[in-house]
């Protein structure tokens, strides 16, 4: 599990063994494979890119090609212990609707996203007057898939507004744990565990 992306490693460590997991935007299935192989998790995936789906199916995973914006409605209520959305929230058309679906489908949800209020992002806008290009936001404004930039504090507010409970929060900087204090300023990346 050590070669997982840092946010995925956090999620992998905190998913209960033997549970049922839906990984939304599962990519090539790296997290699903790790959960299956190390924790006996029954993992299912949703992924938009056909090449990624083919790769994940080739690993023996159950992955369905589809779009988080339109296809989550097809999943029955409470059919998973966890729904996972890693680095995908900011690319969806209606993040709040996606979040609602995650917690309708799963009893709990992991959501990870790059923090747009990180000091480097702020610096880029404040001093450079340019949309930030950072390791976690690597593409220029016209080609980025990130259409709904979000900050840690924005996300906390959304969670509050939707009446959800935060069961856990982890923050990362350069792939290492960052202080929870002032996370909105110092964290490059956040992982939240939510409950209905």
């Amino acid at each position: 599990m050590s070669d997982l992306r840092p946010d995925l490693a956090i999620i992998a460590r905190n998913v209960a063994a033997g549970s049922r997991v839906l990984d939304v935007g599962c990519g090539d299935g790296a997290l699903m494979a790790a959960l299956r192989d190390t924790a006996g998790v029954d993992a299912r995936g949703l992924e938009i890119n056909p090449a990624n789906v083919a790769a994940a199916v080739g690993r023996g995973l159950s992955v369905v090609q589809g779009d988080a914006d339109t296809d989550l409605a097809d999943y029955p209520d409470a059919s998973f212990d966890y729904a996972i959305l890693s680095q995908t929230l900011q690319t969806t058309m209606r993040p709040h609707v996606v979040l609602d679906h995650l917690l309708r489908i799963g009893r709990r949800a992991f959501v990870s996203f790059p923090n747009f209020a990180h000091w480097r992002v702020r610096g880029s806008l404040l001093w450079g007057g340019r949309m930030p290009v950072t390791p976690l936001l690597p593409l220029k404004w016209y080609e980025t898939p990130n259409i709904h930039h979000v900050t840690v504090d924005d996300f906390r507010e959304l969670v509050r507004d939707r009446g959800l409970t935060v069961e856990g929060a982890w923050f990362l900087s350069h792939g290492r744990p960052a202080r929870p204090a002032a996370a909105n300023f110092f964290a490059e990346h956040a992982v939240f565990l939510l409950r209905r």
Partner: protein, 372 residues
Amino acid sequence: MSDPRFGQNRRTTLPGPLKLDGGALLSPLDIAYETYGTLNADASNAILVCHALTGDQYVASNHPVTGKPGWWTRMIGPDKPIDPARDFVICANVLGSCMGSSGPASINPATGHAWGMAFPVITIRDMVRAQAMLLDHLGVRRLKAVVGGSMGGMQALSWAATFPERVAAAVIIASTARHSAQNIAFHEVGRQAIMADPNWQGGDYYEGTPPAAGLAVARMAAHITYLSEAGLTEKFGRRLQAREAKSFGFDADFQVESYLRYQGLAFTDRFDANAYLYITRALDYFDLAEEHGGTLANAFRDTATRFCLVSFDTDWLYPTRESRAIVQALHAAGAAASFVELSSPFGHDAFLLDSPELNRVVDGFLKAGAAR
């Protein structure tokens, strides 16, 4: 091979009776089939491949009439997703067809003449039940996988719904869980073309001249639905066939006309018109949800079968939304399901053509099951 049940170009007569969805009892029951590879000691490596409407059991061996290679040598062979070195591959001519299994062209034991239209109407589930009887005969209790495209995919679905405990995995390619009104409409055009041929004679033509013209027209209409507009345009455009200018007549001026006429005529050499009527009817009657109280998910309730569905983006005969509907039902039933829409310019026919991505998906899916 020492075991007389196994080998190529096999044919067996099962005593029956087979109770059909339409109520009739069919007995005896002829089934023609091909096998490749060897059944292992615990009979756990059998893969059933189901053919499409006008397909046959010669999935990976030369066709006895046309001499052409098997229709799915891209999928079955050494180092292919289905490998006879590892898998015991079975492909049977479907019930109602004309390559050796019982159908309207075979002899009705009661009369000593061809059944013709006296053959009972059959369904996809009847085809599957007949295959199950063949598997019993071959000593295969449980399939490692059932794999099919188009009508073969419907059989694979019907297998998983009818005999869930006998199917470890199902691969459904370019298929659907029910025939749409448009699908039925195209089939009706083909059937009416056959029945309008004066040689059809109410289906009683086996001692005379077959209704080749009607069958060719049926095939031409159907063939268009297997292609895509983009594929047709790319292949033929408006190019003329072996001439410099339009004839201002009704010869096959355009290449696409000439191609369709050839496809229609070539088909009449290898297919029986009545079998075409019966099999298209079986497809039209196919509605897996209807068989399960109107809810498709009920067809897969508590299933342990793993499913893999593949569609092609230019397939307008069984478009992607049909596969998605099946995936939704599988989700609702809690089944393990994978699905991918592949890109191809070739329409429905894409499942029979070279597609490295299709092979990769099927290969990975089948190998993943073997690892468990």
